[in-house]
């Protein structure tokens, strides 16, 4: 089935080949901040996946129903960011009411996600790539979240081991994380050209 293969290729491409963190430099701030431990990293990753899928879908809908081809197109950035902020608020309220335990475990991550460049970045990329179908937008957003989760969990695993290594003082913390991220980016480069 053509649609299915397009969707599958799109999903794999955004998780691995065009991973948001390693090739598009999105989501670095939480990436550096939260990748200390695997459980925190996983929680953040899940929260991001949740929000990004929702935002990606909503912004695609707004883009195609309201913005493209109309004079309102110039307000795209304002609309997107408001939708994302609104979506995060909604998710927060919904979780707090119906899944309090889940809300507790997400903790402070949820409000931080609004300024996560990955969310706005993905919505803009979906617009840039001219994605035509809602299903494809949903799959790509979900894939982006999964890619981010994977990236942050790998990093968390490595950092847990780094804690035991003998890192020079000046490099402790952000610098060594960045260098590790660089090496990971290089590793992921091996996937380039996989999907055509």
């Amino acid at each position: 089935m053509d649609t299915l293969s397009i969707l599958l290729m799109g999903f794999i491409s955004i998780v691995v080949v065009n991973n948001l963190v390693f090739t598009k430099f999105l989501g670095i701030c939480p990436y550096l901040g939260v990748s200390g431990r695997i459980d925190m990293a996983f929680g953040m990753g899940l929260a991001v996946t949740f929000v990004v899928t929702l935002s990606g879908t909503l912004t695609w809908l707004i883009d195609h129903l309201l913005l493209i081809g109309t004079p309102l197109e110039v307000t795209r950035y304002v609309c997107f960011i408001l939708v994302i902020a609104g979506a995060v608020q909604l998710v927060e309220m919904y979780l707090r009411k119906f899944f309090p335990s889940l809300y507790e475990s997400f903790g402070i991550f949820l409000p931080l996600i609004t300024t996560n460049c990955a969310i706005l970045g993905l919505c803009l990329f979906i617009n840039l790539w001219g994605i035509d179908s809602l299903l494809e937008a949903v799959v790509l957003s979900f894939g982006a979240g999964i890619g981010f989760t994977m990236a942050i969990c790998i990093m968390a695993g490595i950092r847990e081991n780094l804690d035991l290594a003998d890192v020079p003082d000046c490099l402790k913390g952000a610098p060594i994380t960045l260098i590790t991220a660089g090496l990971l980016a290089m590793a992921f480069m091996g996937f380039a050209g996989m999907i055509r």
Partner: protein, 200 residues
């Protein structure tokens, strides 16, 4: 809420600001887009003075299997004669999408050349699709199926394109984009009678 008036006033003012800036700058922005494409094609089709968008809609199936609309421009000389055709084509390269502008001669028989509108290929390797030694192989090549070869004579102009050493995937991508789009567009244009065996 008393504070919501601030939000409403602010939104209104900001909206106005954006609208004014947009109105002031959008003709310039549109002109920039047109200039960019035109300047590239004028290099490939010397003598082209003006570009007219064809009214007939052409839809071709892209390499990924999706149906996409193609805007075909007819290049006219100062004497109002057709000197060639040009259109844009997109495909996936090694790293990201490659966007090309392709120009053909007036009979749609030979390729006048292509230029890269945007690409994100590896610098020093795949990026060489922008270089003259690779692009020159397309100038004068037959407007039909092109084949990528790894060894060959670059200066021989035919349907074989010699790849960039160390950048097979990027070279292959460009060959596929050019081949596929030219063949499909040609087919559509023949069907609509725009070009034919004895059209001007």
């Amino acid at each position: 809420m008393q504070q919501s008036w601030l939000l409403i006033v602010a939104s209104f003012c900001f909206g106005l600001l954006i609208a004014v800036t947009n109105a002031a700058l959008s003709p310039r922005i549109r002109q920039n887009e047109i200039n960019k494409r035109n300047s590239m094609v004028t290099v490939l089709l010397p003598g082209a003075n003006d570009f007219i968008l064809m009214e007939e809609q052409i839809e071709i199936q892209s390499l990924q299997g999706k149906m996409e609309k193609v805007e075909i421009y007819k290049a006219m000389s100062a004497a109002d004669e057709c000197v060639g055709w040009s259109f844009e084509a997109v495909g996936s390269g090694f790293a990201d999408k490659i966007k090309l502008v392709i120009a053909l001669d007036k009979n749609f028989e030979k390729i006048a050349g292509f230029d890269v509108l945007s690409s994100n290929e590896t610098p020093g390797f795949g990026d060489q699709i922008k270089y003259d030694y690779y692009r020159d192989q397309f100038k004068g090549a037959p407007a039909g199926e092109l084949k990528l070869v790894t060894i060959g004579e670059r200066s021989k102009i035919d349907s074989e394109i010699v790849a960039i050493s160390g950048a097979t995937i990027s070279s292959e991508a460009v060959v596929e984009i050019v081949s596929n789009s030219i063949m499909k567009v040609k087919e559509q244009m023949r069907k609509k009678g725009i070009i034919g065996n004895d059209k001007q």
